[in-house]
Amino acid sequence: MISANQQQAHTELTQLRERAAQVWSEGALRLVFERSPDAILLLDDGVFIDCNQAAVDMLRAAGRDELLSLSPSDLSPAIQPDGTSSSTKAQQMIAVALERGSHRFEWLARRRNGNEFPVEVSLTTIPFQERQILQVVWRDISRSKEAERELSKSREAEDAFRAGQGHVLEMIAQGATLSDVLASLVTLIEAQSEGMICSVLQLSEDGQHIRHGAAPRLPEIYVQAVNGAPIGPKNGSCGTAMYRGEPVIVTDMLTDPLWEDYRELAKLSGLRACWSTPIFTGSGKVLGSFAMYYRQPQTPTGSEARLTEVATHIAGIAIEHERAQNELQHTRSELAHVARVTTMGELAASIAHEVNQPLGAIVGNADICLRWLQEEEVDLKQIAEALEDIANDGHRASQIISRIRSLVKKHVPEKTPLNLSDVARDVIGLVGHEAQRKQVTIYSQLGETLPSVEADRVQLQQVLLNLVMNGIEAMHETDANQRQLTVQTAASNGSVLATVSDRGMGIELAKAEQLFKPFHTTKAGGMGMGLAISRSIIESFGGKLWAEANAGGGAIFLFSLPARTQELQ
């Protein structure tokens, strides 16, 4: 039994069908085709037999007749974007449609004016009298293609930007100079926005002055003028930003009050807008500033915010990294200095002896001269000889002192070409007396024609001195007539090798690495830094320091340094 509602629905449906049948019978179907906003053509056996107005408009044809007089190949370029020939691809697409009943695909079409444009094609089969007619619907997808392209470009740009940031961070990690890093950063940021010129400035250690960071596209004369300028409440964009610890936006440098005292400087820049943001440490201390410049007076739109954030973030990392490295270097230097002074302390007895020789002769000879001058008959020739001896001894004493002084004073390392044999000779000279004192005989086998190495003289002396003193110390318990210390230098495979061998207590090779750790010492009052510092010095010049056992008993310490490449050729 059907309900009243069901009866009602059935009646409505029948009425709808009757209305539709009526519409179709009056030729409305034709109008559906005619008036469709999509371009529709009918393809029968390779020929367009009909098309609608939308197709005519889309293809910019003069009229339906013109369009129908054309063959399908006139409406497409010879080759499709994927490289296939249009006619081949058309056959393929039609074949698929005939098989499946319909097919949708992208196509490059061509208007009558030659203009090529992308379309989405739908083919639908319409059976008619034992053959299949194809309904071809074309939709112009230029705009969405355009949008796709835009999106792709934008993604590429974003990837490039990210990669660029990664590259700058990599530069920091690899120890590139700060100015190189900041210049790369500035160039990267500038590439993200047309017409923008950027700069990174640093705040001086005393917090009062601007120091140049990087500004590859600002005029040199402007850059020089800014460098060293004071920061303050009315000091341009960057100076004020660093002073306030807040971003400063100047739309036009030539009229803004913040640039009032720096109008000439502003003119030097050749630019008008200058927006500056401070760069902070993690704890909120100002390190510098990042600025965007434009040729025209301009206010920010807000889209720059992200670029500014990235720029200040990375610049901050770079500057802080540089400061940390400098401090590390400074501390290492101080430590090495302390170690040298300590070694000199250990050599105090020897130094005293060496200096007292000439001093003793000076004092004695002078006293003799005084006596002679008090005699009746004065032999001036003899006095002159004595005075000459005094003068020579005076020089000798002063040389001993200056040799020691060069090791004891604070020293900023600098790389110069050095001959390792000469450095070895310096050190053997320094410890000569100490070795004697401990009854150690030093044997030297120093290469005559060594290639030079690139290193700091004082630091290399320090390393050799450390190894030689250790060797002497190691033979403390050895028989007095067995105390031999050998120092050798030789070229080896593109490096120069220095060796210090002793006949002391020896080392357990398995535990050799321990020796190089800080605070390792066998001496009662020792600091235990000598070998650790020596190794870090050698490594800082690209070399290696290590220990081996001495076949005849005792230990061998060796270090190698790369030979200067010019000389290897």
């Binding site: 020897s350 002896h353 020789q357 001093l359 003793g360 000076i362 004695g364 003799i368 004697q436 004192r437």
Partner: protein, 212 residues
């Protein structure tokens, strides 16, 4: 016989200090014999005149203290004045205990060095005198017959003629005759003198030197 003029032997590896010491020594009218190492000094013949050594304790090879030990073993150890560029107390004490004349740290007052040298030379003079005397006494002893030597030993030991006669199995008269010979040959002024000579020669009744 006039005494040979004394010399100062300077052993120091530092050339300029050695030259200065030579100059200093010449101001007191003495000659210097310089060496630049202990080994070089040992290779040379000992001086045939009163001498004093001025020696640096810290030289390469044989040190000054080692040399002192070596020299102590000879019959005429030369007096040593030590110098040092950097001495410590144990070193000084060791050197002085071993009989050094002085220990001076460089730079020192010239007068101190001169005084030490003079004392050293005086000591050496005395030593040489003692050695000469001993040689003389030894020569005299060497001229004694073996019998006379026996008598010499027993007389200086305090035995009476009678006892000696008994011990040696001869008469007292014979002993008296031997005794007179001994006194004459030894050129002794008195028995006490003879006894002193016996001491110097280390003669003892049971330790008579065999005749040559």
């Amino acid at each position: 016989m006039t005494e040979k003029p004394p010399v100062v032997i300077v052993v120091d590896d530092d050339d300029s200090f050695r030259n200065f010491l030579s100059r200093l020594v010449s101001t007191i009218g003495l000659k210097t014999v310089p060496f630049n190492s202990a080994e070089a000094f040992l290779a040379a013949p000992p001086p045939d005149c009163p001498a004093c050594l001025v020696l640096d304790v810290q030289m390469p090879g044989l040190s000054g203290l080692d040399l002192q030990r070596r020299l102590a073993q000879v019959s005429r150890p030369l007096p040593i004045v030590f110098t040092t560029g950097h001495g410590d107390i144990p070193m000084t004490v060791e050197a002085m205990k071993a009989g050094a004349v002085g220990f001076l740290a460089k730079p020192f007052r010239n007068q101190d060095m001169i005084d030490a040298i003079k004392e050293g030379i005086a000591r050496d003079r005395e030593t040489r005198k003692q050695l000469d005397e001993l040689a003389e006494i030894q020569a005299r002893y060497d001229s004694l017959t073996s019998r006379e030597r026996e008598v010499f030993a027993l007389v200086t030991d305090g035995s009476l003629n009678k006892q000696i006669a008994h011990q040696l199995g001869t008469s007292e008269r014979t002993i008296k005759a031997h005794r007179a010979q001994v006194v004459q040959k030894m050129k002794a002024d008195s028995v006490a003198d003879l006894v002193r000579m016996a001491d110097r020669l280390k003669i003892h009744p049971h330790i008579t030197q065999k005749s040559a």
